[in-house]
């Protein structure tokens, strides 16, 4: 792993789930601050952040403005998590934070300090796909595929939450993931099938 986090990994390399060791991410130059001991000195431009991502412990020094989404994609090259709208509107960046689905674009990485993140790359058990991933393939639940990793992460959570009683309930609780190809019927069918498989 390179020191500046800019090493280019191929998409396949990452998708194969090569465990990434903790990388020291880029630190922006910080202007000299006076150590006056005042309250405002508590505010930092660089933040030391530790988190467990897909079962691997990482630590970073990060600019305050780095979102969890940008950390995953730009620093760790975990590009399965997509940047769609970057405004919390499309759901393409859905990941699990301590097991709950959230939009990675709406979280500052610094605020996630000490917590566990699961991305689409962390879902499969070695070569064996997660039941939700298999169900999406079996039900042809995508066309272009851009929203799919977010849909899958959201579906994993939707099933764990128990919001899969009816097709209408699935559609309501999957509504935070927009599919521009409108594969919604197949997505709902895949979620329904995966929910049954897991019970």
């Amino acid at each position: 792993m390179s020191e500046d986090g800019t090493k280019k990994l191929s998409r396949r390399e990452v998708m194969r789930g090569s465990a990434l060791a903790a990388g020291v991410a880029t630190i922006a130059p910080i202007g000299a601050r006076q150590a006056t001991g005042s309250v405002t000195d508590r505010f930092e431009h660089s933040n030391h952040v530790v988190m467990e991502i897909n079962g691997v412990d990482h630590q970073f020094d990060l600019e305050s403005r780095v979102t969890l989404l940008d950390l995953l994609r730009e620093r760790l090259h975990l590009t399965g998590t997509k940047k769609g709208c970057n405004r919390g509107e499309c759901g393409a960046c859905t990941v699990l934070l301590d097991g709950r689905r959230v939009n990675a674009c709406l979280l500052l990485a610094a605020s996630v300090n000490g917590r566990k993140v699961t991305t689409i790359e962390g879902l499969a058990d070695g070569p064996r796909l997660h039941p939700v991933q298999r169900a999406f393939i079996e039900h042809d639940a995508f066309q272009c595929g851009f929203c799919t990793s977010g849909q899958v992460m959201s579906a994993v959570s939707c099933i764990a939450e128990g919001h899969t009683g009816t097709n209408a309930e699935i559609r309501e609780w999957m509504s935070g993931n927009i599919c521009r190809c409108a594969a919604y019927p197949q997505i709902a069918a895949a979620v329904e099938a995966a929910a049954k498989e897991r019970i």
Partner: protein, 327 residues
Amino acid sequence: MRDFSYAQAKSRADAILLSGQPNTMVIAGGTEILNWMRIGIVDPPRLVDISRVPGIEGVEALPSGGVRIGALTKLNDVAQHQLVRKSYPVLSEAILKSASPQIRNLATVGGNPMQRVRCPYFRADEPTPCNKRSPGSGCAAFAGFNEKHAIFGWTKDCVAVHPADPPVALAALDAVYVTDDGHGGRRIPARSFNTLPSQDPAAHNVLRAGELIVGIEIEPAEATSAYLKVRERESYEYATVSAAVVIDLDGDVIRRVRIALGSVAMRPWRLSETERRLAGRKLKSDAIDSALDAGFADARPLSSNGYKIKLARNAAKRAIELAAGVT
């Protein structure tokens, strides 16, 4: 997003101390402020993260019979808490009809009323006249695109509506936002937390710098309630109009009803005159229509949103029937 410096508050007192520093804004769930910063609505040099402050999360029963909800409780956790589902279905429904499951796992119930207007001129990437965005610049929506804008309480200086659902339910329940400012704080009624343009067209709410919402208190519910949200898409969409109704019935006679409308004004809009006229009246009587007409006497359309008056009136009527269990 421009860079900023960041600190995590360790306690309530610490949060108030840090948030009171110059040029400092507060982040809790983060579902709004990060977008404001991306658009350029705000550009705070300092951000204080209060999301880890202990002691202001969770739902608890009060000795009085009501509930207290910690400000940092996530929206999904409020909506699915058994006390809320049982005693305040209007609040549970309003929350579950807002945003998306992912956003509701991040957004806090105390941050929710801090949401700012969705007026396209306020959220524009390029500068446009907007008194909330740039005080004194005027209101482009008044003579522009205003199909989704206010029918109550607007002035030519601002015609935007407050978009959030949960505060509409809280206003109907006469809930109170409990604040802390290091000097005892305040108890602010949910129905008057957000600021009408006649008070200040540039303002969003009455919260002051260094003052934080720490909890929400709701009186005991002796009543049934319901939330009706009318929108262009069935899920994950802001309301065109919404109606929250809390009703106390004696057979088919209304003892007391409380009605708040959403997305019709810069704050949840209580139909006080309608409420007054309906006390002691029977359900399914002409009294409901005439009481609603009285409540809508001061509704005023803009150039493109006359339809919202009829829509809101009918939504209120349907919400009364829903809350009362009339089929």
